[in-house]
Symmetry: D2
Subunit: 140 residues, 4 copies
């Protein structure tokens, strides 16, 4: 079987100033607030302020990304996003992440099921990250 | 053995307008932003804006609380709080929650270990909740 | 308010040989199989083989306990147990843990809600641990 | 960018009799024990008995898969596997899952980082599932 991804939509998330928790028992914890942004290219909407990436730089140089936040689509439906990744210090860009979506009855319910990958391109000099969400499929 | 709690500090968290995700496969998801507040009575500091309670009202009438946010103590140390609970529709107030703390090297490292209970008193008419954090101990 | 615990029942879990994953990015992971045991003193039943404690000894000397397994009560109801803790190297015994219970419609549904503490006494020379489960309450 | 998967290895896991927790507040919980199996096709080893899929059939007909277990490779290294999925009632086979790997210093440390997809083919009449693990990459 061959695995491939189909682009669904793109999240452009604006980041606030890092909140530095410091060196914890499992690594360096930094909380990166998500303060807004846009959704485009398949779904259209905005990123709501209020979530974050509770980021952990581990002793071996790898990094755990663990982000939770909401997007509001044109029409009003809210989708809750949880996006996680573990990447090496020298991982190529885009970083590959694993998004999951919690969707209400009036939202894009097809996002409730299946497997997704997010191609995350940091643009930290601009204070934002771009995430291209793809649905994975397998075919003979 | 007898279990008892010792009061450590109190979090008074200010809540923003509810972000309603709607009816999801496991219940009604509402995201309740945490937008500020104070810490007093043992530790002194502020609640940072940017986290939330990703609240889930389940089909049987019970509710899951799942909150993540940060507090900044006088002196500058940041503590990351994760607070969870499952409570019945008719649970008496205060609701009992299970907080955990991620603490950097310059923070109150004694909060990294042990078991805690949070006594959560909703004051929703004032747009806030009060959480009295106790450390649990067992003694003969 | 005063916090107290009321004993509900006791789990006596038998442990299998440790499966050593070794030094991972966040600490030393050892998987401790749960291979049987008994439930007594309020509820009566057996511990089913098949779960484990996915234990993590962290670089600062503290330990994360994360166990998931099932108990079967007399009458046939199965309760799924998730039990977690973070404890210091020199924590006094019993260790305090935070159990949660997933309960089907024909089981002890009162365990679905509220806050619990487990008093865990290792008896590693006997290959078992005893966990006294208490329900927490708060009173004026 | 194009997303693709590269096959890494195949897990063939043997399942024990289902432990039925019944109807819980968020759906029908069934615990499916993992009692053995093999690893082949890139890595060589065995599936250790002792983990499970803590499976949840949700009220909307979708299913959450949440499995944790260990594999032991030839040479002795143990890898801890967590594999999750959410799939619709009518999802085509193979089901797409999201595996993660906790790896000790003497194991295949390249599995610690990156994004993976597992192509899960149930062979329930034979009491087993086959999971083809692929690493995801993105390329222009």
């Amino acid at each position: 079987m061959r695995v491939r991804g189909t682009h669904l939509f793109t999240i452009d998330a604006l980041l606030g100033p890092v909140v530095d928790v410091g060196q914890t028992p499992t690594g360096h914890r930094r909380v990166i607030p998500i303060i807004g942004g846009t959704v485009s290219g398949g779904l259209t909407g905005t990123v709501l302020p209020g979530g974050a990436d509770w980021n952990l730089a581990r002793p071996d140089g790898s990094t755990e990304l663990w982000a939770r936040y909401e997007i509001r689509l044109v029409g009003g439906a809210v989708v809750s996003v949880t996006n996680t990744a573990v990447h090496a210090a020298d991982s190529p860009v885009p970083l590959l992440t694993t998004p999951q979506f919690d969707v209400g009855a009036d939202g894009p319910v097809e996002l409730r099921v299946g497997a997704f990958v997010g191609l995350l391109t940091p643009r930290l000099d601009e204070g934002r990250v771009q995430i291209d969400v793809h649905r994975l499929t397998a075919e003979p």
